[in-house]
Amino acid sequence: MFDDGPRPLVQVQDLRMYFPIFSGIFRRHTGDVKAVDGISFDIVEGETLGLVGESGCGKSTVGRALLRLYNITSGRVIIDGEDVASLGPEALRKKRPTMQMVFQDPQASLNPRMTLARIIGEPLNEHTDWSTARKLDRIYELMDAVGLNRRFANRYPHEFSGGQRQRIGIARALALNPKFIVCDEPIAALDVSIQAQVVNLLEDLQEKLGLTYLFISHDLSMVRHIADRVAVMYLGRIAELSPRDPLYAKPLHPYAEALLSAVNEPDPVRAANRRRIILTGDVPSPANPPKGCNFCTRCPKVFDRCRTEKPELREVETGRFVACHLFDDKPQAAGSTGASEANERNQQGVTQ
C-alpha cells in the first residue's frame, strides 16, 4: 500500500446497473435493462483509462454510475478510499469535489441563461464559502487554464462555438480541483480540427494537475492517442481490458478484433490492404441478452460452449484481461470462480 507502485484511485468491483422495465396496466416490474452487468476494473492515479464500445453497450452508464449520478443496483465503487456507492447524502455532497464530469454535448450541458462566469463559478458557490472576489480570481484562473479569454466572462453559452463551449465545460469540471474526471464522449460533437484542440487541452491539464481520467469514447483512434489502458465493452460487460499498445497491435477478444478492424484508416493505401472483419447482425437488446457469452450471436469464432456458459474476465497475458472461452485452455480454467474473481481484482492495472 505504501509507495509500492502506483495506487489505484478508482476501484470498481462487480458494478451492476439495471434499469427496471414496468409494463402492463398495473405497471408491474417485468424485467430489467441490464445496462451494466457486473464489471470490475481499477484506474491508477494519473492514468487515463479509455472505455470504448458501440452505442448502447453501457459505457456512458458506467461513467455516470461511477459518479453516482445513478443509484447503482449492486457493486462497489471506491474512489480515493471511500465507497461512493454507499455514501449518505451529506457525505456524498462532500465527496463530489474530488470527482467531476465533462459531458458529451456542450450545448445541452450549459445553462443558456447563465453567463460563463456564473457557470464556472457555480461549483464554488456550492462547495466553498469564499468571498466574491476570491471566486472571481479562481474563475479567471480557470479560464486561463482552458484557454478562454477573460473578456468573455460575462457572455452567454450561445455566443461560443462548440469547441469553446467544451472548454467551458472543462473549466467547470476543474473548478474544485478534482482528482478524477469522467470524460463522457467529450469530443464526439466537435469537428475534426477542433477535436485535436480539446484533446491536447485535456492532456496538458492532466500533466499539470495530475488528473485521472476515465475517457469514454467510440472513436478508437482518438482513444489510442489519449489512453494508457483501454477497456472494450460489449452489451454491459467488459470484453477486453488491456494496455493500449498490445491491444491495438493484437486484440485478443474476437469483438475487440472486429471493432478495431472496422475502424477506417485515413490512408487509402493501407485501407486497401486491410482485412476487415464484418460482423453480421445487430447488437442484441440489453433487456434480453443472449444466454452464455453476450457476443455469441455475432461472434465469428463462436462454438457450443459460448452459448451456454458466460465467460469470466481473466488475465491471459500480463496485464491483459479477456472474457472469452477461446483463452480458457489454461490449467484449472473452470472451477473455483471465487478465486479467479479475487485474482482479477488484485491484478487489474496494479503492479504489486
Binding site: E54, S55, S161, G163, D191, V192, S193, I194, Q195, A196, Q197, V199, N200, E203, H218, L220, S221, M222, R224, H225, D245, Y248, A258, L259, L260, S261, A262, V263, N264, E265, P266, D267, P268, V269, R270, A271, A272, R276, I278, L279, T280, D282, V283
Partner: protein, 316 residues
Amino acid sequence: MPDRAASVLDVRGLKTVFRTRGGEVHAVNSVSFHLEKGELLGVVGESGSGKSVTMMSLIGLLPSPPADVRAGEVLLDGRDILKIPPQELRRVRGARIGFVFQDPMTSLNPVFTLGDQIMEPLIEHMGMTKAQAASRAVELLELVGIPDARRRLKSYPHQFSGGMRQRVMIAIALACDPDVLIADEPTTALDVTIQAQILELVKSLRQKLGMAIIWITHDLGVIAGIADRVMVMYGGHIVEQAPVRELFANPQHPYTRALLKTIPAISGPREGRLEVIEGQPPILMAAPEACPFRARCEYRHDRCDRENPARRASTA
C-alpha cells in the same frame, strides 16, 4: 480542364446565399465540379463548410426563402436542372438522382410501413402498379441485405435498428435505378461495426449497379476507404480536388495538409501530441474577397488578404 465527355453531372459556378436577419450568409461560393459515370466522389469538410448545402441546392431541396441559389448551372446529361420547372424537377429527384440522408432515425416516416415508403417512388416515377412495386421492393430489400424481405414490407421504421434503417434508405434511393446517388453523411450516425457493414454494401452495390455516387462526410477515414476522387471544402469553397491516393499522399492546399495531420492514426507510430489547426472555421457574412482559410493558415502572406485564389489545376 478535365475531359467532361463522360460526366453525368456537371456543376458550374454554383452560388447559394441564405438571407437571415443578421445579414446574408454566403454558404456556397462559386463551386464547380463534375461527376463521371460510375465514379465515387468523396466530399469532405467540417460542419458549416457548405458540403451538404451544395448538394441540396443542386437538386432544389433547400427552402427558399431563406435559401437563394444565386448563380451557376447544374447540368445533368446536358440539361440545366436549376432552370427546369418544379414539376419536372420532381421527376428528376428520386428517379434520376437518389438521396440518402444522414440520420436514418428521422428521415423515414414513422406512420407508414417500409413497404409503402419503398413503393412510393416506384409508383410515382416508374408508373408501376402496386403489385409490381411490391415485388420490386422485395428485390430492393434483398439487394441491400435485409433478410426475410417480403414480411418486412409490413414493418414500421421503429421496428428496425439504425443500420437496418439506413439500408432501407439506400433501398429507397436506389428504387428507380438513378444515375446519381447523393449520400449525405450516410454512416455518421452509425456505430463502427455497422458502418463497416454499410460501406461493404455500398462497395458491392457499385459493382452491381455502376451508378455514380457523391459521398459527403467529415470522416477522412471513410473517404480513404471508399472514394475514387476527393473534393475538400472549406468556408463554402472547394479548396482542393484530387484522386484519393494523390490527395492523401501529397496534399497541396494548406488546409488539407493541416486536416490530415490532426487525425490520429489507428496503426503505425503514435504521435506524442496532436497537431491542431488554431481558431475556428469562418462564417461568411459577405461575398468572399480573400482566401477563406487565411486566418488559420500558416503560410499567410499579403496576397491572401487581397484576393480569393482562383481554382486552378496544379501539377505537382
